[in-house]
C-alpha cells in the first residue's frame, strides 16, 4: 500500500447508540451511569457531550470505543455492532496516556506498527505527517516528560490520528490545560477536523468549549445518566471561543443545564 493511499481521508463513520444502559455496583450501592441512552451521530459530525461530572459521559465514550460493555443496548458503527476496540475508532483521554518509555515518535508509531499493510519506512512517513499536522515536527525525539501539557495532548492527538480512524473519541482532552493553550487547540482541532474529515465525539463539562467545537451539543444529567436536551450550533467555522455569537449559545445551554441539575436536586430531596 502506498503512503498516498494511507494518508488519504477515509470516509467518516456513522455511530448509532441504541438504548444503552450501564450500571456499576459498588460496595454500598448501585450507580446507574447510563439509563437507556439513544443517540445517532452522522458521518463526519462533530458532537459534544456535556454534563456535570458523574453523568456517564466517559462511560458512554468507553462503550463506543469498545473498552467497556453495556449491560443492555448496542452500539453500531456504520451498521456493524461494536463489541471491542477497533482501529476505526481511536480515543484521546483526559490524562494524555502517552507511554513514558517511548519518545514522541515512538508513541505515534505505536498504533502504526500494529497496522498491517505498511512497511516501516511508510509508517515513519505517516507518523511524520501527523506530527507535522499537530505542529510538533521539531519534537520527534523528545521525551514525554519534557513536553508541556498542551504539547502532550498534541502528541496524543497525533497518536490517535495516525492509524487514520473514521471516528475520534475525545474524553475531556483539554480539561487539564490552561486557557491560552486550550484556545490554540480549539483552533487546531477545528482545522484538523476540516482537513481529515472524521466523526468526532467530544466529551467536556465546559459549555463554551462545546458550543465552540460542536455541530451539536448534547446535554446529560446524572443519577441516572440520561440525555436531557440537544442544541444545534449553526455558527460558521472556524469559530472563535470568545465571539459574541458563541456567548449567546453558551448562555442558552448553561441555562438549560442549570435548569435540570436544579431539578435533579429537587427530585432527590423529595
Amino acid at each position: 500500500m502506498s503512503i498516498e493511499h494511507e494518508l488519504k481521508n477515509v470516509a467518516p463513520e456513522r455511530i448509532e447508540v441504541d438504548r444503552i444502559s450501564k450500571s456499576f455496583t459498588t460496595k454500598h450501592h448501585v450507580v446507574s451511569a447510563l439509563d437507556s441512552i439513544s443517540l445517532k451521530i452522522s458521518e463526519g459530525e462533530f458532537v459534544c457531550l456535556v454534563g456535570p461530572s458523574g453523568c456517564g459521559k466517559s462511560t458512554l465514550l468507553n462503550i463506543i470505543a469498545g473498552l467497556e460493555q453495556p449491560d443492555s443496548g448496542s452500539v453500531l458503527a456504520n451498521g456493524e455492532p461494536v463489541d471491542a476496540p477497533g482501529r476505526d475508532r481511536m480515543v484521546m483521554f483526559q490524562e494524555h496516556a502517552l507511554f513514558p518509555w517511548l519518545d514522541v515518535m515512538g508513541n505515534v508509531m505505536f498504533g502504526l506498527k500494529l497496522k498491517p499493510g505498511l512497511n516501516d519506512r511508510e509508517r515513519l512517513e505517516v507518523a511524520e505527517y501527523y506530527l507535522h499536522l499537530v505542529g510538533l515536527e521539531k519534537f520527534h525525539h523528545s521525551n514525554i516528560h519534557e513536553l508541556s501539557g498542551g504539547m502532550k495532548q498534541r502528541v496524543a492527538l497525533a497518536r490517535a490520528l495516525a492509524p487514520n480512524p473514521r471516528v475520534l473519541l475525545m474524553d475531556e482532552p483539554f480539561a487539564a490545560l490552561d486557557a491560552l493553550t486550550r484556545e490554540q487547540l480549539y483552533g487546531d482541532i477545528q482545522k484538523i477536523w476540516e482537513a481529515r474529515r472524521k466523526t468526532i465525539i467530544f466529551v467536556t463539562h465546559n459549555v463554551r468549549e462545546a458550543a465552540c467545537l460542536g455541530d451539536r451539543v448534547i446535554l446529560f444529567s446524572p443519577n441516572p445518566g440520561r440525555i436531557r436536551k440537544e442544541f444545534a450550533v449553526t455558527l460558521p467555522r472556524p469559530r472563535d471561543i470568545n465571539s459574541v455569537e458563541l456567548a449567546h449559545y453558551s448562555t442558552e445551554i448553561t441555562a438549560a443545564l442549570k435548569g435540570f441539575t436544579a431539578g435533579v436536586g429537587r427530585e432527590a430531596s423529595e
Binding site: R87, R89, E95, G111, R159
Partner: protein, 256 residues
C-alpha cells in the same frame, strides 16, 4: 574533575595510613599485611593466571544463575500480578522466601546437589528469583491502567501488550528488582564458594577461603579488592545503562 581529585586524595591517604600502620611493627605482617604485600600478591596472581581463572569461574556462575533467575522470575512476576492463582501461591511464597537471607540456601543446596556446579547455581538462582518476582509484580500492579486501555484501542492485545506495554511500563520497578536480585545473588554465591570446595571450578570465594586456611591475609585482602571491583563493574555495565534510560525517559532523578 575536582571531585575525582578529592576521591583520589582520600584513597591515597587511606592506603598511606594502612601502609604505615601495617609496617609499624605493632601488628603481625601475616595477619595485617601492608598494601604493598597485597599488591604484590595481586600482581603475582594476575601473572600466573590464578586470579583470572578464579574470576572467570565466579563470574560465569553468577551470570548463568542470575540470568536463569531473571528468565524464571520475570514471567512468574507478571503472572503473579495478573492472575489471582499465582498471587495466592507464587506471590505468597516469594514474599516468604525473600525474607530468608539467601545464604541459608547453601546447606540445602549441598544436601541436594552435593559438591557440584548445580549447587552453586541453585544458590544464585534462589538469591535472585524471589526479589525479581516481587519487583516485577509490584511494577505491573502499580502501572496506571490507562496505558493498557490506550494500547487496546490501538490494536494491542495478548502477548503484544505484555511485551510492549506491561513490561516497559514496569521498567522502573524491574530495574530496581534486578539490582536487588543481583546483590542477593552475588552475596549468596560468595557464601557458597567460601563454604564449599568444588572440584569443577575454583572461584574467588574459594581463593578467599584458602587464603584464610593458609593464613595468607594478603591473599584474602587482594581477593576482597577484586570482589569490590567486580561489584562496581557490574553496576556500571549491567545497571547504569538502564538507569540512564529510565532517567532520560521518565525524567526521574532518583529511582526506587
Amino acid at each position: 574533575m575536582k571531585r575525582a581529585l578529592t576521591s583520589i586524595i582520600f584513597f591515597a591517604i587511606l592506603i598511606g595510613i594502612w601502609q604505615f600502620a601495617a609496617s609499624s611493627g605493632k601488628f603481625s605482617q601475616v595477619m595485617f599485611p601492608p598494601p604493598s604485600n597485597v599488591a604484590e600478591y595481586l600482581w603475582q596472581a594476575i601473572t600466573d593466571g590464578t586470579l583470572g581463572s578464579a574470576t572467570l569461574v565466579t563470574v560465569k556462575r553468577l551470570l548463568i544463575g542470575y540470568l536463569a533467575g531473571l528468565i524464571l522470575g520475570i514471567p512468574l512476576g507478571l503472572f503473579t500480578a495478573k492472575f489471582k492463582v499465582f498471587q495466592d501461591t507464587v506471590g505468597v511464597l516469594a514474599l516468604g522466601m525473600q525474607a530468608l537471607p539467601s545464604v541459608c540456601w547453601v546447606p540445602l543446596a549441598l544436601g541436594w546437589f552435593g559438591q557440584t556446579e548445580a549447587a552453586m547455581l541453585f544458590v544464585v538462582v534462589m538469591g535472585t528469583l524471589w526479589s525479581v518476582i516481587i519487583a516485577t509484580s509490584d511494577g505491573v500492579r502499580s502501572m496506571p491502567p490507562i496505558y493498557l486501555r490506550a494500547a487496546k484501542t490501538m490494536g494491542s492485545s495478548g502477548l503484544h501488550s505484555w511485551v510492549r506495554v506491561i513490561l516497559p511500563a514496569s521498567l522502573p520497578y524491574l530495574v530496581g528488582g534486578m539490582k536487588q536480585g543481583w546483590a542477593f545473588a552475588w552475596r549468596s554465591l560468595m557464601a557458597a564458594e567460601i563454604f564449599v570446595t568444588i572440584l569443577t571450578g575454583f572461584g574467588l570465594g574459594q581463593l578467599l577461603h584458602y587464603g584464610r586456611e593458609l593464613h595468607a591475609m594478603d591473599q584474602v585482602m587482594a581477593v576482597m579488592i577484586v570482589l569490590i571491583v567486580i561489584g562496581l563493574l557490574a553496576d556500571k555495565l549491567l545497571f547504569a545503562p538502564w538507569e540512564r534510560f529510565l532517567h532520560r525517559r521518565w525524567g526521574t532523578g532518583t529511582l526506587k
